[in-house]
């Protein structure tokens, strides 16, 4: 088995100011197309810088694809788009080895996935077979075809969109696939002012056409290196673990978040902290990210579903129940809840 390497190294992190200027430029660029969705745009950017993948889930026509394309266009790097259809094949995604008669050898034709940014539109319209072609590349940043492993470039990001309403002719994403997406975001409807401004902006032509890239792949790599250097205090790490553990212990959840999600939560938190101009992560970052990063991975119990409780609501409630960490050890002096339930005598008898 051979391995073919591609892509660049993560070196030369930026200073805080430089980082902020760069990321602000990207956000401003995207906002030319997507009006009034700064938080969503920054979250999408954070996922990119956290080396994760983004799932945009919302009803049709709110700009899912527009956001994906705008983000792709803002970065001067290779962008591929896959329109997921029911007849899409795995080899269309990953690539295929074809016989080259001149060299009399099989030659690898890279699939759509070999790019810095892969926009997967309507991902749930492809069959699970095709969807699972993404599993390896999304987690391991590599594609193995015919025994040969091809490494993806950095940055590598899959931005997938899906429509949660229309169920006919779609295949829900398998749990493994969902877990590979770092964050799931919803676009939400624009407010009235933004929608009005949009009417003007889109009056004559699509502003997406005018969008030019503001950074190149190398800069993105430097941004990623900066994010990686963000400090995470022990207390914050503990908090991340506690948060994820809480999803596993919550009575309303049948399936909690995976250890992978802990990792991705912290990575995204680092990116958010850096975007916020900090060189350290605060619990606030984890709190904001709990719903986008964790909500799509957990499965509520039948009872919670019957009670029409969404995973978003369950998770934000969890966040509000969990005490924030402090670096002084022990309990907060204001925490009035019992420390540990005393071991019951009856528990010990059995």
């Amino acid at each position: 088995m051979t391995t073919q390497r591609s892509g660049g190294e993560l070196t030369d992190p930026m200073t805080v100011d430089e980082f902020r200027a760069t990321t602000n430029a990207i956000v401003a660029n995207i906002e030319q197309v997507i009006e009034g969705k700064t938080a969503t745009v920054r979250l999408a950017l954070a996922v990119l810088l956290a080396e994760g993948h983004l799932l945009i889930e919302d009803v049709p026509g709110v700009g899912k694809t527009k956001l994906a394309k705008a983000l792709a266009r803002s970065i001067d790097c290779s962008v591929r788009r896959i329109q997921f259809t029911p007849d899409l094949l795995p080899s269309d995604v990953t690539g295929v080895s074809v016989y080259n008669q001149e060299t009399r050898d099989f030659e690898f034709k890279p699939g759509a996935v070999f790019a810095n940014l892969v926009v997967g539109d309507e991902i749930n319209r492809a069959s699970p077979k095709t969807q699972s072609a993404l599993l390896e590349c999304m987690e391991e940043h590599q594609v193995t075809v015919d025994g040969v492993t091809y490494t993806m470039e950095i940055p590598f990001m899959v931005i997938a969109t899906q429509n949660p309403i229309e169920m006919e002719g779609t295949y829900p994403l398998p749990e493994a696939q969902r877990d590979r997406f770092t964050a799931r975001i919803a676009m939400g409807y624009p407010d009235a002012a933004a929608e009005y401004a949009m009417l003007d902006g889109y009056h004559s032509h699509d502003p997406l056409e005018d969008l030019t890239s503001v950074v190149d792949g190398g800069t993105v790599r430097r941004l990623i290196a900066t994010v990686r250097s963000v400090h995470v205090a022990e207390a914050v790490k503990r908090y991340a673990v506690e948060l994820v553990t809480a999803t596993r212990e919550a009575p309303e959840l049948r399936l909690g978040a995976s250890p992978r999600s802990t990792l991705q939560l912290l990575r995204t938190a680092k990116a958010v902290a850096a975007l916020d101009g900090r060189d350290y992560v605060v619990p606030d970052d984890l709190q904001t990210l709990a719903v986008p990063v964790l909500a799509h991975r957990v499965i509520p119990t039948a009872d919670a579903q019957l009670a029409r409780r969404t995973t978003d609501a369950i998770l934000s409630e969890l966040v509000h129940r969990l005490p924030v960490p402090h670096d002084r050890g022990g309990r907060s002096p204001y925490d009035t809840r019992p420390a540990t339930p005393p071991n019951s005598f009856y528990d010990r008898r059995g």
Binding site: V16, R20, A233, D279, P333, Y334, D335, P342, N343, R349
Partner: protein, 819 residues
Amino acid sequence: MNSRRHLGLVAAAATVLASAPISDIFAGWSWLFEGGLMVAMVAGAALGARSLRGRLWAQLLAMLAALLIGLTWLFGGDTAILGLIPTPDTFAHFGSLFALAGEEVQKSYVPVPDLEGLLFVSALGMGAVAILVDLCAVGLRRPALAGLPMLAIYSVPVAVYVDSLSPIPFVVGSIGFLWLLVSDNVDRVRRFGRRFTGEGRGVDVWEPSPLASAGRRLAVVGVLVAVALPLAVPAMSAGFLGEFGSGDGLGQAGKGPRGNGRVDLFAELSGRLKQAGVQDMVKVTTNDPDPFYMRFGVADQISGGGFASHQPTGQPVSDSLPDPSGLDLSAVRTQAATARVEITDSFAMPLLPVYSAPTAVRGLDAAWSYDPTLQIVYSQRANSAEQSYEFDYVRAEFTADQLRTAPTMATSDSNQRDYSRVPEVPEVRALVDELIEGKANNYDRVRALYDYFSAKNGFKYDVAAPAGTSGAAIVDFLNNKRGFCEQYAAALAWMVRTANIPARVAFGFTLGSSSDNGVRTLTNRNLHAWTEVYFSGFGWVPFDATPSTYVVGSAPTAWAPDVDAPEETPGGPRPSLSANASGGPDGPGGPSRDPVDPEGGLIGPIDITEEIPTWVWVATGGGVLALALLITPALRRLTLRRRRRVRAVAATSGGGFAEVGVSAADLAMTVVGDADAARRQAHAAWDELIDTMIDYRLVVDPSETPRATIERLIGTALPATAAVEQARLLGLAEERARYAPVPLSAERLAPAVREVRLAIAGEADRGVRLAALLMPPSVLLRWRNAAYAGLTALSSGMTRLSGVLVRVLRPLRPRRLLR
């Protein structure tokens, strides 16, 4: 009716019920009318203030105003405008009523008639208690606290009566308190929502909850403990509970006359003194400005059981009476006087009280005779009840110098022979010999014995001491040094006789405490016994050895001064306090003839003239302790704040600074070289901020980050001033201290904390500010959590222990052994 209104009315009704024990003090019921009116006015004012949505202070003001108007209406007289609006004169009048009440307290005996001063004080007291109860129960929603002012009412009759009281008023009072508690609790439960049974049926408010049985069990245990605990305390045995055991006290009293003139006077005396109620027995008017005790009986024979009376003999009182027995009228200054006596039906004996020594008696029929030796008026068949009569008498005014001249009588003298006979008791003999050693004459010997019964020698008054005047009882008394007049009189007589001087025990009344237009009312509490010593040429000279401070209406005399009065004990170990102290026992240092015991009427045998009584110390100590407890949280809060500031300052001066600009932050900041110190400072500032927030009733959420906490604080409780920036600085400092690799420099934190605290305080309303100052909730919360943690640790420890025990003891289980 809303719940607060209802609770207010219940509080007023409970106050009225709780004042039931006052009925023990007053003979009539006007106090209830006037006090009830005060309570009603206070409750009405509170109700009105509440329906106008007045704040707590407004309610308090309204209640105070209502109380003032009510008092003016009832007691203000013509000093007020329209009879309702108080003027400065009204307050002056109130002041005089207070003074009047003080006098009435001194003069009267319980139960008192409707005296204006006391009625005023009781109405004022009930109104004040009503205000406090309303504040506690309705204003602060702490009805349990309302028990304290109610307890103040309880304590009045308890303090006034030495012996047992009827429990019924107290039961009524506690029913009021329980009513208040139940109403409040029902109201609380009702506010939770509707209650349901297991089957889903709605539960009515008054139906018992599933917890009711637990509550009942707790209540039973509480009552049992409250009843059982005093039994274990020895001092209580004389009171209410003492009746269960001995059966004396109430039993012997008032059995009425017994055929002849021989009465067991000692039994009568102790029985009547211990009797619960107070009965008027004798009303006497005399033109003598300075009378001594009235006497009606004498015990002059010593048998196996102690002193006893003998059958009196004499002639009918309708005849003119002989000269006072043994009195040489030429040598002694005498005072002739007339007295008129009315006897109630409570004093029913074949004896009549007269001043010594009567010379003529008018208004009595031939059934009554006079015994010149005993100097008593007696009857073989008539009863003293409802008698009224008038008599002339001469009161001898002996002086010590005169008495010193009395010659020692010959052993053949009948008085000497009859009245100095005494069984030989070695202990008494030894004591008497020691006391009279070196005394030249009979008077000095008697004085030496008399002076022995002083507080200095440890003698105390105790009406509960075992009665009895036999030789053994005398020895017991001289050892225990606790007794009442019976023991003192008998012991002195016994000792004087042991010194071979004639002596006997006289019975009668003290001067009493209430004198109304010259009419003295003597009650069973004024019954008394004292010693009479025979001096040749002077006759029977009274010596009252009972400590005068414990005897209401005692009358120390020039020849037998009060041994406990400081100026009357020359040569004693105590330093002389006044110039005339060197005057000797016969000096002109006039003993206090004021018959009014300052506390007398209401408090009974409590001595406040000599030393400050214990209860004052207990009350003062309790007050100081309560005050200390009350201000402890505030002090704790202050020390915490100071320590945090000191820590911040110390840390600032400690580490060297490395100024590193971190441009990422919105605020210009410097980062400290000594990171740990800076972290500690930031934490101290943050803790102070959080404590401040708790103090000012701002929500503190442990699941909130510093950043979120600060933003919420700015949004809700901070005015838009510089404090906002300071608050953000505090939040950033804490956040960086917790989570960042380099913390923020802590230089500006202490002033920031102060500014934010002042800003928060400025936004809070007055009540919250006051509570934050006096009873900081942060400190209380800390303590509560610490107590909770301790209890949790204890309970888990117990669980572990029981687990271990079960494991260890399991093999020993009886069933297994039987198998």
